[in-house]
Assembly symmetry: C2
């Protein structure tokens, strides 16, 4: 039964994101999922790599933007080109997932979709695949929606949380719980309470369900979006470029969490500890990176005198630091960032300012 569930599983990798927090390394044409932050592979390559031996390449779909499609394809030579799909507009996750569900359903009426962000880090890949296996099994039963909840280790206010309800099952050592509720990014006080209670998990944006289940839930929750998606599908799906370009950009710009997960009742969460991070800032990259004994993550050949806790990226030159602590230094061909690592969340503000000044070449 489990294997039969896996035989119908399809990955839907969400690779359309844009962001500014990794500027100047990240740019409009090279957002976070296309960066090599912690290994020689981009986060997108790592995301696909984690599915190796779990799903065949012809059941892996990548949804991205027109701007990024070629770059995604270059990074993923093993994925058939027609499975790398460019959306004509950024409409958040719900329209993308709905579109993907139609594509899978067209191919396999019993298709199960595994929705995965392209720009997260998961250190324990085997643990991750075990959770996916259990989730696919559970989702193969009519009508069940499954998500992966990450064990929180700090009161992070940048994430959504999932409240665990009663335990529903144990599968291959994986704990499945009924979802109490999904909550948006909490205030610090609330986040502290959540973590202390032991009853909340982080929402990592990974969802597993039958394509048919998702479409039924979407129909119930947002009938207008569902009918738009049905029109695209009736015209021929993602290859019907005209219909896609006409209808998709007008679909409601909304996340799957908000559109569906918060409104359905039969939802399950697998509690997992898989070395997950959404890698939200340079400070997080520094936490995860390999460091010298002074806590500097820095290129070979750089020189560090009385310097501690720095995150240095400079692929093309020798960096010398003297007496600096807890900095992020990122050097690229046309731009250099030097920031307090604790302020790395504010890098986005600088990029907004560059945009306001019309410095388009730097965005």
């Amino acid at each position: 039964m489990r294997d039969s569930a896996l035989a119908h599983a399809y990955a839907v990798i969400m690779a359309g994101g844009s962001g500014t927090r990794f500027w100047p390394l990240s740019r409009r044409r090279r957002p976070k999922q296309l960066l090599t932050l912690l290994s020689k592979e981009t986060l997108l390559e790592e995301t696909v790599g984690r599915l190796r031996g779990f799903l065949p390449a012809d059941r892996i779909f990548v949804y991205t933007s027109e701007l990024l499609k070629s770059a995604c394809a270059r990074c993923l030579p093993d994925i058939p080109r027609r499975q790398i799909i460019a959306e004509p507009a950024a409409r958040n996750t719900a329209p993308t997932i709905g579109l993907a569900a139609h594509e899978i359903l067209r191919r396999d009426p019993d298709g199960i979709m595994i929705v995965l962000p392209a720009d997260h880090v998961i250190r324990k890949a085997a643990r991750f695949r075990r959770a996916l296996r259990a989730a696919c099994h559970w989702a193969s039963v009519q009508g069940r929606s499954v998500t992966i909840g990450l064990k929180p280790d700090r009161p992070e206010t940048g994430y959504g949380y999932i409240q665990k309800g009663r335990r529903a099952a144990k599968l291959d050592g994986e704990q499945l719980f009924v979802v109490g509720r999904f909550t948006e990014k909490p205030r610090l006080e609330t986040a502290r309470r959540y973590v202390a209670s032991g009853r909340y998990l982080w929402n990592g944006g990974m969802f597993i369900w039958r394509a048919a289940t998702l479409l039924r839930n979407l129909e119930r929750a947002t009938p207008e979006m569902a009918s738009g998606l049905a029109r695209i599908s009736a015209a021929g799906g993602v290859r019907a470029t005209r219909a896609l370009r006409r209808v998709f950009p007008r679909l409601e710009n909304v996340s799957i969490d908000y559109a569906v997960m918060e409104s359905i009742s039969d939802c399950y969460v697998i509690e997992a500890d898989m070395g997950w991070s959404d890698v939200g800032s340079w400070a997080v990259v520094h936490d995860l990176a390999r460091k010298d004994r002074d806590g500097n993550a820095r290129p070979r050949g750089s020189l560090s005198l009385d310097s501690r806790g720095n995150m240095i990226i400079a692929p093309h030159k020798t960096v010398v630091t003297v007496g600096i602590k807890n900095f992020v230094i990122v050097d690229t061909e046309d731009a250099l960032l030097v920031a307090d690592l604790a302020r790395s969340q504010d890098v986005g503000k600088a990029v907004q300012e560059l945009a306001r000044l019309g410095r388009k070449g730097l965005l």
Copy 2:
């Protein structure tokens, strides 16, 4: 009489220095005197520029190294090429000044030489020229050696000091004192005492004397060096390349201060306040540079968020800083320095380390 003294005046600009404190902007082939730190001109160009209208170009000599000769010539198109002289080895200031004295004497038995470092800043050029005029006049009288003493405004331990003796004269408003003594770089306590006493001036390495006077003093103080220089001169001077290459590198490596000034008795100092600085580190460049209202000296087009008191040089890219204070950032094609501005004296240590590691391309 004053004008007649000036008619015999020759500038000897000491442009052979090498240094590491302005790395990575300064390199072996581009030391401080060839950098544009505070204006669009190199310090060497500014040094020559301050003599414009005071001395004709054919009475300005530049002494430098073989490595730097072409670069000096490129910067100074108005100076006749034969007056830009490459020494075959670096032997500190005494041998260079002796060599220059012979060259001047060959041309003008009454020649007065004005020895000037090529890598200092003098903000009040008119004040500087007034002091030089008085010095030339005073030096034209048989046997007098004159130096310019700078009014200290802090207990700097990196400079030599000159003790003022009795006042000897007042010329065009310039105060001339007998020199009590020259002292080497003092300890902080001593420097504090010097400055508080009001009786000490900084030694800026500017000397004015008749060429004949200098040679006589050199003969008395270091007869061996004097005889070596006489041999070079007898062979034809700086154009007698063979003699120069054979003899010059074996002359004693010693400063004019140590070889001559500290041993002669009839020495005078003109007290001057001419906006002088030896520009000894990035911190000094920051002090002297034009700054934004947050105290940042930074390129046009750079972006500075919550950043104060920084010195930023990056001619070829956009620099964004977030939350950093009192740092020096210097970006060049192959190297990037990020250092605590208060530690900018230690930049040299980093360069030593690069040398030890055999990173020759970066030196």
